[in-house]
């Protein structure tokens, strides 16, 4: 299985679904789900086939595309990109199942159009993580906007047109800065190598002078910070998440936003090591602000989708903080965080979707007492929430703790402050649970909110199983991620700080 083939599968799926005759909605869904499942299995198989002793690019393909500009169709994955691709590929069919009845034919939005766009989005999601040519990355980075724009704009809530436009404008502005920096980087590479290149490996080996690095770094960083999203570039996210369907929100926040943090760890650090080090304290400060700002705003929300969106702003703060700590725990922890956050935020969005499709509202105030009428629903909601607040035993705890401990060894103050964020996370999650699930149900809640259906369980149970499984056995993922983060460290030329007391590592483990 090659990465091109992995991208072709959903592309074919998108075309086939779109070409189906109008009115065959069920068939369109089934075909889309079939393609989604095949892609998921293929991605998992590729993930399992990774060589864990190699931190570099694998499954490499390269075909010349525009040779005059050194642009090629280059694909390849390392330990960081593969886990994100697998996460995305696993989420897509689950999102299909969860959102089976979320869209109907209305106006310009058709059921087959929705599922076709979702599959098209999957093509670009794989591409953006797998691209080894920076120009190709840029193309996918921008191309992703098209399906997402239509997914929000045609299938969302009452404010969808505004939200979609806002999302598009923010992303385009960010992309514009990246394009400028991209051209700059091309020029620099041409100057240094004789011929310009967009090749990832070649770019990581450049020796760019620090001043230029800083300029180019900022161009890329701005685009990634908008996408991630970091405070103060975040205001598009709550609107976009609140106005899209739960499935779209899941892929948008759970997968697409990871392109921002993925870009930081995969491009910024290796290509601009000096600038990364230079800006690290400032970015860590911004990340800590994001953690608190997102959490406090989450507490202040009255709409569940917006609450989850703001909690993600907080979580992305953790991810960015871990990346710019440059320690192996920080880098691996952040990568793991990206994967775990995809699953746990996805679970939350989907359950909120289940609730709002019943009650016709996402407002916290419109709920209450759900656990009395739909105890399994409440239980699933609580599990998703516990994952979001990083309960030990769940996968999110492992990544959050790795980020914290990885940051602590380089930036103890930042880690100290960020640790307090775990109290706020408990607050916004459990307060939301208390207001929506506990108490006596109102007349409206008892008459509309019925128990979770089998189909909905089929979508959510695998996610929760994954969350718990990787809480106990995170090493399965870490073994894939670690070699690559190690390589990133050596490219940036940083090493983990040594503990004050040394030479006792041999006492690790129990005495059995």
């Amino acid at each position: 299985m090659s990465l091109t083939a992995l991208m072709l599968l959903p592309l074919i799926g998108a075309v086939v679904v779109f070409a189906l005759p109008a009115g065959r909605d069920l068939l369109a869904k089934q075909v889309a789900l079939g393609f989604g499942l095949v892609v998921a299995v293929a991605a998992v198989v590729m993930g399992l086939g990774m060589d864990k002793s190699n931190g570099g690019l694998q499954y490499v393909e390269k075909y010349s595309w525009i040779p005059s500009f050194g642009i090629s169709w280059g694909l390849g994955v390392d330990g960081i990109s593969i886990v994100l691709i697998v996460m995305a590929a696993v989420m897509v069919p689950l999102v299909f199942i969860a959102g089976w009845n979320d869209v109907e034919n209305a106006g310009r939005g058709t059921v087959k159009g929705f599922f076709s766009l979702m599959l098209l989005l999957e093509v670009f999601m794989i591409g953006v993580f797998a691209a080894t040519d920076l120009f190709l990355f840029y193309v996918f980075f921008e191309a992703m906007l098209i399906p997402i724009y239509f997914l929000i704009g045609r299938f969302g809530g009452p404010q969808r047109a505004y939200a979609a436009m806002k999302f598009l404008l923010y992303s385009l502005v960010g992309g514009l800065f990246m394009l400028a920096a991209l051209i700059g980087l091309y020029v620099v590479s041409a100057r240094e190598l004789g011929a310009g290149t967009f090749d990832y490996t070649a770019l990581t080996q450049l020796h760019i002078d620090p001043a230029t690095q800083k300029m180019l770094f900022l161009g890329f960083f701005f685009a990634f910070a908008v996408k991630a999203p970091m405070v103060p570039f975040h205001t598009w996210l709550p609107d976009a998440a609140a106005e899209s369907t739960p499935g779209t929100a899941t892929l948008l926040v759970g997968v697409l936003d990871k392109v921002g943090t993925f870009g930081m760890i995969h491009y910024l650090l290796p290509i601009f090591p000096d600038a990364s080090k230079y800006f690290a304290p400032a970015i860590i400060t911004l990340a800590v602000i994001s953690i608190f700002y997102g959490a406090l705003l989450a507490i202040g929300q009255s709409d569940m989708m917006r609450l989850v969106a703001f909690s993600s702003v907080s979580h992305f703060g953790f991810i960015v903080m871990g990346i710019f700590a440059f320690t192996s725990q920080g880098l691996s922890g952040s990568t793991l965080y990206m994967v775990n956050h995809g699953f746990s935020t996805g679970a939350l969005f989907l359950v909120v979707g289940y609730l709002s499709s019943r009650r016709g509202s996402k407002n916290i105030a419109d709920f209450g007492g759900v656990q009395k009428v739909a105890p399994i629903m409440a239980g699933v909601f609580l599990l998703a929430g516990l994952s979001s607040l990083a309960l030990p035993g769940m996968s999110s705890f492992v990544s959050e703790f790795l980020v914290l401990v990885g940051t602590f060894s380089e930036y103890p103050q930042a880690a100290n402050i960020a640790t307090v964020g775990i109290v706020l996370a408990a607050f916004y999650i459990l307060w939301m649970y208390q207001r929506t699930m506990t108490g006596e149900p109102s007349q409206e809640v008892s008459s509309t909110v019925n128990e979770i259906s089998k189909r909905e369980l089929v979508a959510i149970v695998p996610i929760i199983a994954i969350i718990i499984a990787f809480g106990l056995f995170p090493q399965g993922l870490l073994n894939i991620i670690n070699p690559t983060t190690k390589q990133v460290q050596s490219t940036v030329q940083v090493v983990d700080p040594a503990p004050a007391v040394q030479g006792l590592a041999s006492t690790e483990g129990s005495g059995s």
């Binding site: 507490i299 607050f427 090493q475 004050a500």
Partner: protein, 619 residues
Amino acid sequence: MTAALIGLPLLGATLLLLGGRRTNTWGHFLAVAMSASSFFVGVALYIQMLGRSAEERAVGQHLFDWIAVGTFNVPFGLHLDQLSMCFVLLITGVGTLIHIYSIGYMEHDPNRRRFFAYLNLFVAAMLLLVLADNYLLLYVGWEGVGLASYLLISFWQHKPSAAVAGKKAFIVNRVGDVGLSLAVMLMFTTLGTVTFQGVADAAGQGPSLKITLIGFALLLAACGKSAQFPLQSWLLDAMEGPTPVSALIHAATMVTAGVYLIIRAHAIFDLSQDARTAVVVIGAITLLLGAFIGTAKDDIKKGLAGSTMSQIGYMILAAGLGPVGYVFAIFHLLTHGLFKAGLFLGAGSVMHGMHDDVNMRHYGALRTSMKITYATFGLGFLAIIGIPPFAGFWSKDEIISAAFGQNYLVGLATLIGAGVTAFYMTRMMAMTFFGESRWEDGVHPHESSTVMTAPMMILAVGSVFGGLLLKFVGDIEAWLEPVTGVAHPTHPISAAVLIPVTLLVVASGAGYAWTKYAQRPVPVVAPTDVSILTRAARADAYGDAINEAVFMRPGLHLTRALTWFDAKGIDGTIGGVSAAIGGLSARARRLQNGYTRSYALTMLGGAALIAFVLLLARL
């Protein structure tokens, strides 16, 4: 074998939660069976352990590598030594009794199966807490019991007060967990390891400031879990949960986890006088504060909750005394686990007979209608106030003696605490079982069924003989010595003086309460013309009021301000700029049709065309 201790109740919880309604009819029996089998495994392991010499009693079991990144290497490993063994037997033993009691207590609850699932989950998490061989895995058990506690406090979720109390317990505990997080991070960055053994080996070479900081961070964690000042406020609200939960989690086991943590990390505390002093001070404050709150409560469960805070204060204080106190902290923890669980189950039995009324002003004269409850509660009462030869006497007396060995002020605090304990417990006895009946209309007190009274009787036996057995048969001091180290106690006041003095103080406290609450009629409505002190005690010494004023209200204002700022400030600025641009381009706009989708289509078409041309050029 060690893993089975945790695995059995975990399996029970999983089966009951996933099995759904199908398991409703027999679910509680499964839960009891799982808890009991875990207890029998524990007993078997205990007998095995007894068969080995003191140095070879601790055993480890490496299950798998849990997290390994760089030099951060955390095994999923278990460690069963003499200290964990004490807890294993307490958790599974008392736990099983409370499981059995709950069969009767929760008989008519529609969600009984879920209740038992959560109880099993708690037992599993608590066992993981005491069996983990490193601080990060301990953390999993630590928040696991917090989760079980949250679920069980808010078990009656339809009651808003219960839902709020559960959330409060979790969040206040999370404040403590910040301490545990920081401690683990400091251990790793300072000592390079987070295993118990590794930390103990390396601590001596660590910079003393860092060691002290680790100690403070661990103390913060202990304060959260063990409801010690200033994180005590959640425990009184936690009484919203069903009474068996209060007995198991909020008296006998979970709330004592802080004591376990400090003693488990004794290598850190041994090295830092400052950290030990902080522990003693926190313990002394809480033991007085909890006892003080206990004196004014009319709610029988809240009275006992104040008492729990206070008794754990004794344990924390003892743990802060260093090697001379570790053993007695655990000794008191064990005897307290027996008699306090018995007292809570007794309170539950009373409530059961009184239509779930918790107000002691509506009780009175119950000794005739609830004979078994009266007898078992009475034995627990004698144990907690420290009358020889009942269980509490042996352990508390040791703590008072060791405290005087440290510092007279600290000793005095423990002595005063003993007097106040005698006061509030006698008050509770008198208001509940003596005097005249003040029952509400339609209340006909009756003794509870055997399934409930049997565990109470067993725990009463423990309240009587627990101290004697642990001291003279189990020889707890020698038993724990390999874990806690050799102590060199100093006793500036000889036992011959201290014991009579202590008993005199206890007798005065008890006597004063007796004249006040047994010999005079108790008003059915709490009098309002009371002293400032009584008012303060009724308001839990204003713990909630302070939290409200210092954290909650400012936090809420900050959140509101930021929410406004986000919408009007950040988004407004960007929106304003775009509106301005929009105005300028209004004319240009007429040339266009204004549909972004057509722009996007044009873009896509253009991009496709360029790509096509480029491809053609290549061919």
